[in-house]
């Protein structure tokens, strides 16, 4: 993470939170686990090669993701994933007090699955590296089918250990310990419908804020009427998330998907997520996937866009991900799949392209750059920030 500093004394470095979160989150939500959680079935042998791209809010992130999975004797399955983020950021935070930067994050994962009768045991490990952040995690899942295979019960546990550094301070080193507890239940409702219920409790302890991020506070003596100081988060965070999903096979060959999630944590954030999806095959080879997602959340108790003075309270944040906001996402994907007859070891392959457009509207996070060097707009009266982003995934899947 290299950030070119402006010659402003208090503009220490404000790297984007995107960078920090980017590392941690993926380290605990990897495809090896997502593909197999809550289903007592050995995952299908496959190789996926994906190019991903995110562009919005002054941030561009792209890179490859390669997943290889191979089973043995219908009881074991090994998997490996290699993932890269190439980040170029001039986000709203960076614009406020630093300069655009580029960085690279690399993540490697390996996984192992074992199926015994109707129980599937899954274990995986992930390692993520960046020049100022290291993250390691391991994940364990157990799924069991019962009641004539109409029901599946699953339990999961993940543990992550992160190390946080600063590029501008060789002495700075902090640690974070993360634990995830998962419970899942899925049920076949009818011959056309399935449902799932998932719970995940997450407990974090350690240095949870961005070491570079700053909050702003009112200072009438400053030409901009505000100055910046380091943000301070609590050292612990505990959250609960409960999600319900339903999929229905329509009278013709198509499916409808519904997902809803409620989230709450001890920082004061409550969030709701609703997703709708419609999947429609065109002939034997083409599949169209369209989906919509809505999200809203309340702010953390210690969030403020502009604090009244310096050291106003013990914990303080001006991270827009901790503010009050909502988002709408609309996406469409297309898949072309064909059987492979030329090579006996290969079964089929598909080419996939998905594009999502996301709109974020913040309700108490302002565009602080609007009042910088402005005589017309005062600090605290800037327009609320909003931005749109486009997310692209292009990938080829080979099944064997």
């Amino acid at each position: 993470m290299r950030v070119a500093l402006r010659a402003v004394p208090e503009a220490v470095v404000v790297a984007t939170r995107a960078a920090l979160i980017w590392r941690y989150v993926l380290a605990l939500s990897m495809p090896l686990l997502a593909s197999q959680a809550f289903s007592a079935v050995i995952p299908e042998d496959r190789t996926d090669v994906m190019y991903h791209s995110y562009s919005g809010g002054g941030v561009t992130i792209d890179g490859p993701s390669i997943l290889v999975r191979k089973g043995f004797k219908e009881k074991f399955s090994l998997s490996a994933n290699y993932y890269v983020d190439n980040v170029s950021s001039a986000s709203i935070d960076v614009q406020l007090s630093a300069s655009e930067y580029q960085e690279k994050r690399t993540e490697k994962s390996i996984g192992f699955d074992y199926l015994e009768n109707k129980a599937l045991l899954s274990f995986s490990m992930t390692q993520s590296e960046e020049n100022d952040y290291d993250a390691e995690s391991f994940h364990f899942n157990l799924s069991q089918d019962f009641f004539g295979d109409l029901s599946t019960l699953s339990l999961g546990y993940s543990r992550g250990s992160d190390k946080v550094f600063r590029n501008d301070d060789d002495e700075f080193s902090r640690e974070v310990d993360r634990q995830h507890y998962r419970f899942g239940f899925s049920q076949i409702l009818t011959r056309n419908a399935i449902m799932s219920l998932n719970y995940e409790g997450i407990s974090d302890e350690g240095f949870l804020n961005n070491p570079y991020r700053q909050v702003r506070f009112v200072d009438p003596a400053d030409p901009n009427n505000f100055r910046l100081e380091a943000e301070v988060y609590p050292n612990t965070r505990t959250s609960d998330a409960l999600a319900l999903g339903v999929m229905v096979y329509l009278p013709y060959r198509a499916s409808f998907k519904f997902k809803a999630r409620y989230y709450t944590d001890d920082w004061g954030i409550d969030a709701n997520t609703v997703e709708l999806g419609y999947i429609h095959p065109l002939g034997e080879r083409w599949v169209i996937d369209s989906h919509y997602r809505y999200y809203d959340q309340t702010a953390a108790q210690f969030f403020s866009d502009l604090f009244p003075r310096a050291d106003f309270q013990d914990f303080k944040a001006r991270d827009k991900e901790l503010s009050t906001f909502s988002s709408h996402a609309l996406g469409v994907g297309i898949r072309y799949e064909q059987k492979i007859k030329r090579f006996k070891v290969l079964e089929r392959a598909s080419v996939n392209l998905s594009v999502d457009h996301i709109r974020f509207d913040y309700e108490d996070f302002r565009d602080a750059t609007a009042s910088q060097n402005s005589t017309e707009i005062a600090a605290g009266e800037e327009p609320f920030y909003s931005f749109s982003a486009n997310v692209v995934r292009f990938f080829i899947s080979i099944f064997y």
Binding site: P31, A34, D149, S196, N198
Partner: protein
């Protein structure tokens, strides 16, 4: 005295126990008769690839990641195509 109280309690509670016990017995009886109502040979639609919550693991994990990086909420995103009895 205790014996008398116990007898009194038991006597007064007996009708209640009988009334409350009836639905419990009925529920137990019905539970024992509940069987999987979707037979394996009736699950062809459920095993269709279009019935997977997250058909492409790399793409789904990436999208979870995109949202988690920009939202305060986290967790419980894991999709499930479970219970299909396909093994």
């Amino acid at each position: 005295m205790r014996l008398r109280l116990n007898n009194c309690f038991e006597n007064s509670m007996q009708p209640l126990i009988r009334i409350a016990g009836l639905p419990v017995l009925a529920l137990m009886a019905s539970c024992s008769s509940i069987e999987p109502w979707v037979k394996p040979y009736e699950r062809d639609r459920l095993s269709d690839p279009i019935m997977q919550f997250d058909a492409a693991p790399v793409s789904a994990a990436y999208m979870h990641h995109v949202y988690q990086a920009r939202e305060g909420a986290r967790g419980a995103e894991g999709g499930t195509g479970g219970g299909c009895g396909c093994n």
